[in-house]
Symmetry: C2
Subunit: 555 residues, 2 copies
């Protein structure tokens, strides 16, 4: 069957952290049957994607091959792995497989957008497998910062692939299954063609610590607190939420969950049985009648998100609850690069209230959910793959991970989004480069990152906006003077006259100098007015705004 | 003289890191003679100040009291201390005092804006002093990450104030004067009324390390490199630039300075004699003929700034030089919060080229220029002030610093920008709250941060912009249909028709429903069209754009 091949194609997550979307295919070139692993989102920012709500991988390549997609497999319920399933459902409509907890979260997303939630099917853990065309796929439990994270065991006619998903090596994760070296040894015993492996923490040189190691420190911290205690972490980190709640309970505090995601995740974890023995909680309403020194709030917003519970508490009351001098706020979390300013903002707001803020700088109140370098090597050494393909990492992470593979005599392949790897032969090779990118979800519309929409927004943010309106009479002569409006520009500039007056005067003069031929030519008139307006503004305020020209002809 | 008072008023730098601007006054209330310490800038970002070039403190309070300003004293040549002198000169016109190197940098700024550079006067170090009305001010050398940083000894009829400036406790700073405990002991021996003290690193629990400690590690790193070595640091960190250059020289490499600031700072340091024995450099042109393994480039852009040399090298050629596989790029610097994404971007660009990137995560190639908590305590313990006023820090830093003072039995005062402290009596008190804020320098214009300009830009960036043009005939009836233009919005929405067509049709219908009274009323027409356009867009694309309405009347 040398004419058939096994391919790997990352569409998201390879060359970035977030927005995971990986494709595997098997079959004759151009006729491969396909499976998708994860369909996640990335989050926008003002620098590159202002006004955008969510970012998903560009799935145009998949949409063109929709009839060849057997199934979608979701490794775990983090947004950067599951967040895109509802936004791509209309276009892909392939069955979605996930384990119970992940499926619960995925179904809530499908429901929210009015999609059939039975498209999400529940997978049992390995050694059970799901047949999907030429693939047999099993969900092998692996420890991570969310319950039921799974590595995928993907059997193909060309051999076995292990797709690690996000993971850490944690033998005592608190909630969810521990890392099970024996299970992975068993999976690897007949040889593994390729290990496709998480790279997030490849630059962390020391072995990671278990979730269980931070419980005592958190407990001591909460026990020492005098006022109300408020703690934030990712709501999906159910083990941490439980650790925090238990610390509160042991200190004799009533537990309050604040923020929609916090309640949703605890509900999902309890519904699906992954979370047992969670301390009883009280409602925010009931909490108002409890002395503050007997309260512990677990809140969303560890990344400083403006609408989350933490930011609302930093600005004032939230659900009738309010922080005061002598209270404590604990970040049981790490700040993701890019979110520093938002987190620092709420730290300072709490400081102004006299609240003591504790963060993870001591290393005592947070551990990472990803495998550090020695932990990655632990998995490499158990799986002993022929080929190692790093995924879920920026270019620098993937490159470093390939170097580790090379050092072990494993063939490392650096494949970023859009690079299709042919894994069939003895040596993997890049088979094709696919045009990929990012799709922006903005309001109710999806469009491409390179469509120019966001570029124009960024330009208006940097340069302001100026509108020029000119009316041409039925003899193609200007009727009255041009009219100028501005937005996002100072009212006056160097001459101390109103900016709009100065630009209007300059445009009037410019129009007066034009010949009939130009005045009859819409394009020339638009172009000329735009340039004249930009030049005039530049002289006045030292910058050239974005310009909309509207020429109305009465003829 | 109980009717006279000594006041301290931060206008910038207290409640933030950056934009330092502090006022001291002495005299009868409302008649105090004033001095200003530092006039720095802060840097804009897309989240809060898109399109802005620089941020300076709002000096309206000072401008109203210009005739009472005796002098401006600049502690050192970092942008957040000296960057505002030229931008405020027109309004303040008070003599500017600084030590030689700082004055050199300040004069370059004055020159650039066409201001008289003899406004900048050179101060000799303490025990020499400058008389400024009721103040006598001396510049006491103190170690920091720039040459000739100084604490100010400010003698007043109400006692001595020590203003630390930015500092670290470094006995072997390489370039510039070491921290001199004996000098400070001497300054403090007759008692110090108040220590106004840098707070930047108050949360760093361990004593800071000397600049001298990193030389050997940098030297070993450069010696181990095979290809070209490129290193970046703040150009103003002349000691570091020298350490890097010497490491290159010892490894037999020719040194190239790249980036305007790098050359300007080395020039200034050599001109003023603070930098001696700097290795000879070669020009970028000459470097092209030198084998790359014999080159070491020292470049600007440690914070990932898009126009700096590092970012240009990350994108391709710069000054004819280009990085290649096997080269090394060293960040001998720390990433300032908020700059992470820019720094990570160039790290990944270098990774794509096969360049090995080394950053400060090992702690071996960078040390901070600010006093850590134990170092702050060293200064407290030497100065033994009656009052400690933390400055140069966010609210959380100031608050933590006050706690340290309280723990030592020193009266700590938490004063953020705009809080005037009366230091005259036995207990300091807040005398007044001044309206302060930030002034944006944008192109050639300065305006207030709260003037709405930037708010409108942010709104356009988040929501896009839509222009509505309507012409009303001489009977106040619409002449033809409304015309719609968009910028920063998708071309089509839910109905798959062009967005502008949908909105135009909706606006036509809306106009058709209006009574003559509304059609004659400009404000009602504007308002109604704006709302109708936003509603129409919302139905189509799920978001409400910013709208400019232009109604032209032929009547």
């Amino acid at each position: 069957m040398s004419s058939e091949r096994l391919i790997y194609l990352p569409l998201g997550g390879a060359g970035e952290i977030g927005m995971n979307a990986y494709v595997y295919g098997y079959g004759r070139p151009g006729k491969e049957r396909l499976i998708v692993v994860d369909l996640g989102v990335a989050f926008p920012d003002m620098d590159t994607s202002p006004g955008v709500d969510l970012i998903i991988a560009d799935i145009a390549w998949l949409v063109e091959r929709r009839d060849r997609i057997e199934a979608i497999f979701v490794t775990h319920a983090h947004e950067d792995h599951v967040g895109g399933v509802a936004h791509t459902w209309d276009k892909l409509q392939a069955p979605i497989y996930a384990r119970t907890f992940t499926a619960n979260i995925a179904r809530r997303k499908m429901d929210e957008y009015g999609h059939p939630d039975d498209a999400v099917r529940i997978a049992s853990p390995w050694p059970e497998t799901i047949e999907a065309g030429p693939f047999k796929v099993g969900f092998q439990p692996i420890s991570h910062s969310i319950p039921e994270s799974s590595a995928l065991v993907i059997d193909t006619p060309a051999g076995r692939v292990v797709h690690s998903g996000d993971f850490k090596v944690d033998l005592t994760p608190g909630v969810g299954e521990p890392f099970d070296p024996a299970a992975f040894e068993d999976i690897a015993k007949d040889g593994v063609k390729a290990l496709v492996c998480d790279s997030t923490n490849v630059f962390s040189p020391d072995a990671g610590r278990s979730e269980a190691t931070i419980g005592p420190d958190i407990e001591a911290l909460v026990a020492s607190a005098k006022g109300m205690v408020v703690a934030t972490t990712f709501a999906s980190n159910v083990a941490r939420v439980k650790t925090l709640a238990e610390a509160g309970q042991r200190a004799g505090r009533s537990i309050v969950l604040l923020g929609r995601a916090m309640k949703r995740m605890v509900d999902a974890a309890q519904e699906t049985g992954v979370l047992a023995d969670f301390p009883g909680t009280v409602s925010p309403e009931a909490a108002r009648d409890i002395p503050r020194e007997n309260l512990m709030l677990l809140v969303t917003g560890s990344q400083g998100e403006r609408r989350a519970a933490s930011a609302q508490l930093a600005r004032g009351k939230y659900m009738g609850l309010e922080m005061q001098e002598g209270d404590m706020f604990l970040f049981s979390s790490k700040t993701i690069p890019g979110n520093e300013k938002g987190v620092i903002r709420i730290m300072n707001q709490f400081s102004e209230m006299g609240v003591d803020v504790v963060d993870d700088s001591s290393g005592k109140y947070h551990v990472s959910g990803h495998a550090n370098r020695p932990d990655l090597e632990t998995l490499h050494d158990i799986i002993k793959p022929q080929v190692l393909i790093p995924m879920h990492g920026e270019h620098r992470h993937l490159r470093e991970h390939v170097k580790i593979a090379d050092g072990k005599g494993i063939t490392g392949v650096l494949a970023v989004n859009g690079m299709m790897v042919d894994l069939s032969g003895n040596a993997p090779k890049i088979a094709e480069y696919i045009d990929t990118g990012r799709t922006y979800l903005d309001g109710s519309v999806q469009y491409g990152a390179m469509d120019g929409v966001v570029r124009d927004r960024i330009r208006m943010a940097l340069n302001g906006h100026l509108t020029v309106t000119v009316i041409m009479d039925d003899e193609d002569e200007p009727l009255g003077d041009p009219w100028v409006d501005v937005m996002g520009l100072p009212e006056t500039g160097n001459s101390r006259a109103a900016l709009v007056d100065v630009v209007e005067a300059d445009l009037s003069q410019w129009l007066g100098r034009q010949k009939a031929k130009t005045l009859r030519d819409d394009e020339a008139l638009n172009d000329g007015l735009r340039k004249a307006a930009r030049q005039s503004a530049f002289g006045e305020i030292g910058k050239k705004p974005e310009v909309t020209v509207v020429v109305s002809r009465l003829s």
